[in-house]
Structure formats: structure tokens, C-alpha cells
Amino acid sequence: MSANPKKTPLYDVHSGLGANLVDFAGYLMPLRYASETSEHAAVRTGAGLFDLSHMGEIFLSGPQAGAALDHALVGNLSPMAVGKARYTMICAPDGGVLDDLIVYRLADETWMVVANAANVAVVRDALVERAAGFETRVDDRSDAYALIALQGPRAQEILAGFTDAPLPELRYYAIFAAKVAGIDALLARTGYTGEDGFELFVDAGDAVALWQALAEVEGVVPCGLSSRDTLRLEAGMPLYGNELTTETSPYEAGLGRVVKLDKPGDFVGKAALAAQAQTPPGRTLVGLVARGRRAPRKGYQVVTSDGTPCGVVTSGAPSPTLGKPIAMAYVDSGVTETELAVDVRGRQEPVDVVDLPFYKRS
């Protein structure tokens, strides 16, 4: 909690809609507007509108911006084509995850790094420090940008009503500049819901106009952080602070594929991550589906059938789509049982270990 949470450019809109506002990573953000379950369902079946302006946008520009990112992050970014995006991470020298990121290449020498709200300062400072030897500028433009996401199977059809841009040509994890509702936007086909959808980066001053244009469309439901969390959980996507922390390695999280040990040159964390890659991780991120109605929650202990502690829940909630509680948990890699239990406030509730994700769009 921060003493004086910041407001996004859409704060008054949220207030006007009667949103339940909470301090999240130093911002007053809508937790839900009405029913989080209806918001969740809207994204799975129609379209939901999210204010993500708390996220950070950090720009790198200059002839060596790509090389600086290759050095600062675990991914191999510089070969990426203009207009593409990649999911990657920034790690500490010991291999711990400082943040997970989406990096967009906007132009030959211009890159945008999107960081989680709680980590913007950490990421910016690390990028400034790590880019020092490179011909590049690091610019934190988080306050100048608003980020609005339109997610759901109807997202493209709805957005097409506001832009002449060729949306079908914009592939998943790609970005281009476009006018949307007359507003200059960076339009990306990315998201955190497990559905098709778009993220629109616009000037903070244009946020209200863009939001209101999209919100007026029949069937577009404003969605808060609560539904965002259950949507990403069903999609098996990690949340920084839960599945990913400075104490976790990308390998434990099942995200070793984003660590490009083979890329040319050294990068921060390489030695530690290379060593981790040599040995199987001691614990593994797994999916759990509860048999009963009680939801495993973050921090609850996972135990084997004979009651031996074997792990800890990182995220858990009743899944609106599956109709039963689901969770992600770190479980000791030696555990082979597929029927475990979670200690729910002193009672052992049976759970089944399942493959992630819980939900995949058809």
C-alpha cells in the first residue's frame, strides 16, 4: 500500500461507473464494476474493456537499443522484426526474476518495454544501468501513456468499427500504429486473458475519449482487476508477485524457453541461469483442480495423500469457466502423485494435478 495512490487518466470514468476501487501497486484501480463473474464471462464470450494504465512503458531508442536489450534481458530481441512483440523477462545476476515483460519493436531503433506496475522503477533503473555501455537512450514514459485493452472473441469485430487499419493482418504478438476512433494509438494484438484481443497504447489525454467510444458498443463490458486475475489464471499465465518473484527462477516456473542461453554475447544473469539449466529444478509449477468447492489460495500448503507438505499455492480462485476451484502451485519435483491435497484453513481438501493451462480458447 502506498500513502497516496496515483490515479490513472480513467479514474473519473471508473468512479462514475461505480467501480470498487482498490490500491493496486500504488494506483487506484477498479477491482470490479458490478459482478466479476459477469465480467469474466464477457471476455470469454464477447468483449471486455480494461484500464491497464498502471502498467509501465519504457522506451529504448538508438542504434544499439536492441543490443542493450539483449544484454539486459534473457531474450534474444535484436533479431526480432519491426512490428513484432515478445514475452520475456529481466533477471537479477543470481537468476531471480525481477519482472516479466512484453517487448515491442516499434521501429528499427525504437523499442517499447512494458513492465508490471509494481516493478516499473526496478525495471527502469536496471535498464538504465545495464544500457549504460550502449548507444541508446532509456525513457520511462509510463505517465505519458494510457493502456486500454479490449479482449474477447468479439474484439476484432468491435475494433473494426473504429479503425481502417487491417486488423486481420495484425497477428498475435504484433503491433502497429493506427488511428482508432480518430485517436493515434499503438495497437497491439496482445493480452493477459487467454482470449483474442488488443491492447491500445494512447496518450494519457486521449484515454477517456477512446474508452468512451469503445464502451458505448453494445455488449462491451468494463472489466476490473478481479476478472483479469481469474482470466489469466485459467489461461495458466503467471502473475508477478505470485508465480514469479526474485526468489523464483524461470525454469521452476516452466518458462525456461524464454531464456536464450545460446544468443550471442553475455547477458545479466547468464552464468546463474546456465547453471540452473543444467539441473532439473527442485520444484515445479503445476496446475491444481479442486474436487470440492473450497478454493486453494495463495500461501496455502500443498500436501501429499499421507499429509507430508510438498508445496505451496501461488494463485487460486473459483474458476468461472470450469465451475470449480483452480490453482497454481509450486510442488517438489520428486512428487509423482497426481492426487494431492491443499490445507484449506486446517482442512485437507483433495485436488488433482493437471497440465496448464486450465483453459484454452477453441
Binding site: 470498487n20 470490479r32 466479476e36 478454493a295 480462485a317 473459483p318
Partner: protein, 129 residues
């Protein structure tokens, strides 16, 4: 935020109705403020059944919402005479109608109810929280 005038309230956000009724059977639920703060309620469990006694201020069940789990406290002491099976089956009713269809249990009060708040005092409590 609705805080009906005729009800009495606990600091743990339960409401009580019927304190003046003959026979001393009161109805208990959770307030709209509590229901809104919890989010959509997906599971409700009472640790006591009909005929069991509950003590004022002691936990007597759990309320689980999409976001969290909270204890349910009895605002009065006495014997449980009825449990609303409709909210056990479909706890969301509590969100939709916390003071009506969303009642949770009834108690035959055995002791003078203690420090319950009137509507004005409860309104003050939630405004200050």
C-alpha cells in the same frame, strides 16, 4: 450503501432482525457493505447445524468469495433454529439480496444481545473503515 434502519449490526458486519419479536427468534445475515467488499460469494459453510448453540462474537462459519475467505461470526448467543438452505445452495443470493432472500440463519436468543450497533452507528463504522 444500504443500511436498513430497523436492523441491528455487529462490528463484524452481520445484521440481526427481530430482536423485539415474541419468542426471541432473530434472523442473521451479512451486510451489503460486507457482501460488496467480499465480492461474489461462491461458498458458505456453517460450522453449526440446527439445534446447535452459537456464542456472540465467535466464529460460526466461513464465507468464501471469488477473491477471499472470511469467518462468519454470530452476533448473538443462542440456539440455531433454522439455516437458509437456499443460500447454502446458491450463496450469490447474499450478494443480490443481503437483507432479504440472503438471510443466513435464525437463532433463539438465550442471552441479552450485547453491543450491537444501530443503523447510524454502523453507517459511521463503515464510513470510517
Amino acid at each position: 450503501m444500504s443500511v436498513p434502519e430497523q436492523l441491528r449490526y455487529s462490528e463484524e458486519h452481520e445484521w440481526v432482525s427481530g430482536l423485539e419479536s415474541e419468542g426471541g427468534i432473530v434472523t442473521v445475515g451479512i451486510t451489503q457493505h460486507a457482501a460488496d467488499a467480499l465480492g461474489e460469494i461462491v461458498y458458505l459453510e456453517l460450522s453449526s447445524g440446527e439445534g446447535d448453540t452459537v456464542e456472540a462474537g465467535e466464529a460460526c462459519g466461513e464465507v468464501e468469495s471469488t477473491k477471499s475467505v472470511s469467518d462468519l461470526y454470530s452476533p448473538v448467543s443462542g440456539e440455531i433454529t433454522a439455516i437458509n438452505s437456499a443460500v447454502i445452495d446458491e450463496p450469490k443470493v447474499i450478494n443480490d439480496d443481503p437483507y432479504g432472500e440472503g438471510w443466513i440463519f435464525k437463532v433463539r436468543v438465550s442471552d441479552e444481545p450485547g453491543d450491537l450497533l444501530d443503523a447510524a452507528a454502523y453507517t459511521k463504522l463503515i464510513e470510517e473503515s
